[in-house]
């Protein structure tokens, strides 16, 4: 191999035709420049990225919930252990024989014995006596432990324990997220819209004001649409603050399409807004066609024709392209045939 130089070489495509590498020069000049992917393909990739991002956000949220749940469980266990220990000690102190009132002679004898007294007779394996949590005054030390004080302490401890075991906000959210996830799995993975609705119905009374209530409503809309229950889906969509939700205008488009079934005038306003937005290509395609269809149905042929032409220009291979060509009277025999075939397949289904 020739000794490599540190000077930058000249590109083969820029060398003279008669140079040593004439063939390579010709070859590299002939290689064309690739075009970028078409906008439809770019939009599809964007959609895939979006859905992946949503999924990963959900799983991150689930991880956080699991972490919060574990912390809660650990805290509860520790509190329970503390409570159990204090209960045991209280019970023990109540069961222990109360010392009899001491006589002056007994007191004197105890003083002479160096305060050992009964302590010296303790069995070797007895549990160690706990240290008093609070200093006891000399007058109290001689008196028996008041049962009321012990009960009050136990009650306070029990209340603290109850508070710790009560469902906290995070566990509520975890349960809500689990229910929603179950519904989404049924809907998206198992393609069981009816099952998804059942799960949502079951969890709705529990989480009607939960943090994921909006998301649950959107899942319900999806399930209803799969089942063809459009009126119910529209009724929900009419109530939802769609601008706050994700899915980049998709839900607003669905609402417009559903409105168009009964009220094209209202739907037209939605479509007008949607077509001015930077929607993903598949959504834009639907919005443009939806607007044209609505314009046709309200008798606005001029604008309908403009939209149909715009549709064909932007989506010549779009899903409504054959239909649009037929509507514009531009359909070739082949396109019409395809349309008839699609209709007959749809009818058979």
């Amino acid at each position: 191999m020739a000794k490599a130089s540190a000077d930058p070489p000249r590109r083969w495509s820029e060398e003279s035709d008669a140079g040593d590498d004439a063939r390579l020069t010709e070859l590299f000049r002939a290689v064309g420049d690739p075009e970028p992917l078409p906008s439809a393909a770019l939009a599809r990739v964007h959609e895939r990225l979006e859905s992946k991002r949503r999924t990963s956000q959900l799983s991150r949220r689930m991880r956080e919930l699991v972490m919060a749940g574990s912390m809660l469980l650990l805290g509860s266990s520790l509190a329970l252990a503390g409570w159990g220990a204090s209960e045991w000690l209280i019970g023990r102190s109540q069961r222990a024989p109360q010392p009899a009132p001491e006589t002056a002679a007994g007191k004197a004898a105890r003083t002479l014995n160096g305060h050992r007294g009964p302590k010296g007779k303790q069995p070797a394996h007895a549990p160690p006596e706990p240290e008093a949590s609070a200093p006891v005054s000399s007058s109290e030390s001689d008196a028996p432990v008041a049962p009321n004080a012990a009960n009050a302490k136990a009650k306070a401890s029990s209340e603290r324990h109850d508070q710790l075991l009560a469902p906290a906000d995070s566990s509520q959210l975890a349960a809500e997220a689990l229910a929603l996830e179950r519904a989404l799995v049924k809907l998206r993975r198992e393609h069981d819209a009816q099952g998804a609705l059942a799960v949502l119905d079951e969890s709705q009374p529990l989480f009607s004001k939960g943090s994921l209530a909006l998301e649950a409503q959107v899942a319900r809309v999806d399930a209803l649409l799969v089942l063809g229950r459009r009126a119910e889906a529209l009724a929900i969509l009419e109530q939802l603050p769609l601008a706050q939700l994700g899915r980049g205008g998709e839900l607003e488009l669905v609402r417009a399409e559903l409105r168009a079934v009964g009220d094209c005038g209202r739907a037209l306003k939605d479509f007008d807004v949607l077509v001015t937005r930077a929607l993903a290509a598949p959504l834009m395609e639907r919005a443009l066609y939806g607007r044209a269809a609505c314009e046709l149905s309200v008798g606005d042929r001029t604008h309908a024709e403009q939209d149909l032409k715009q549709y064909l220009a932007r989506f010549p291979e779009g899903r409504f392209a054959d239909r649009v060509r037929v509507q514009l009277g531009k359909a070739s025999g082949k396109a019409q045939q395809r349309l008839v075939q699609r209709r007959s397949v749809a009818l058979r289904l």
Partner: protein, 197 residues
Amino acid sequence: MASGSVPQSISIVNHAQVLDLDRVYREHAATVSRWLRRLTGKNDASDALQEVFEVVQKRLPSFRGDAQLGTWLYAITLRVVIAQRRKARIRRLLFAQARAQFDLDSEPAESPADHLMRRQATQIVYTVLEQLRERDRALLILFELEALPIAEIADIFRMTENNVAVSLHRARERFRARFQQQFPEAAPGLNHGQSKR
């Protein structure tokens, strides 16, 4: 042939603006898809494009603007392509699949004959590139086909310009040797464009 550098619109990034994935995708996806087609020699770049932007999404929060956005994207694209090619090579080894095919199409040429010539030249170049080491292949694509300046290639590979120049000389030597061995009489666009292997 490509214009020589990453487009100006990509090079100049206003760091005061927050970079989010949607914006980066909207502005640069088409360019990245063109790079992908160039680097893979294949028309279908959708999966690779998704992979590139998944990496971008992961790394965007830590992008500090030390490099130009275009160079940064190019480096990610290159790594994704190299990783995909490694996987494909392993799959070919494991499952005895056919050798990689190149179907890269360029812009419509003036005539069918020109178009055919471009296709054949592309086939020959990618067939020879395929036999080089990944780094040589990438260097040659960036320098000879994308016509990137040495400084930019150095940024992408995190090498000094001197090292890039030396590596390029060597990569060109290897390409020349393979080309002469495989296509001793081939002239691009003529009828000798068939691999003899």
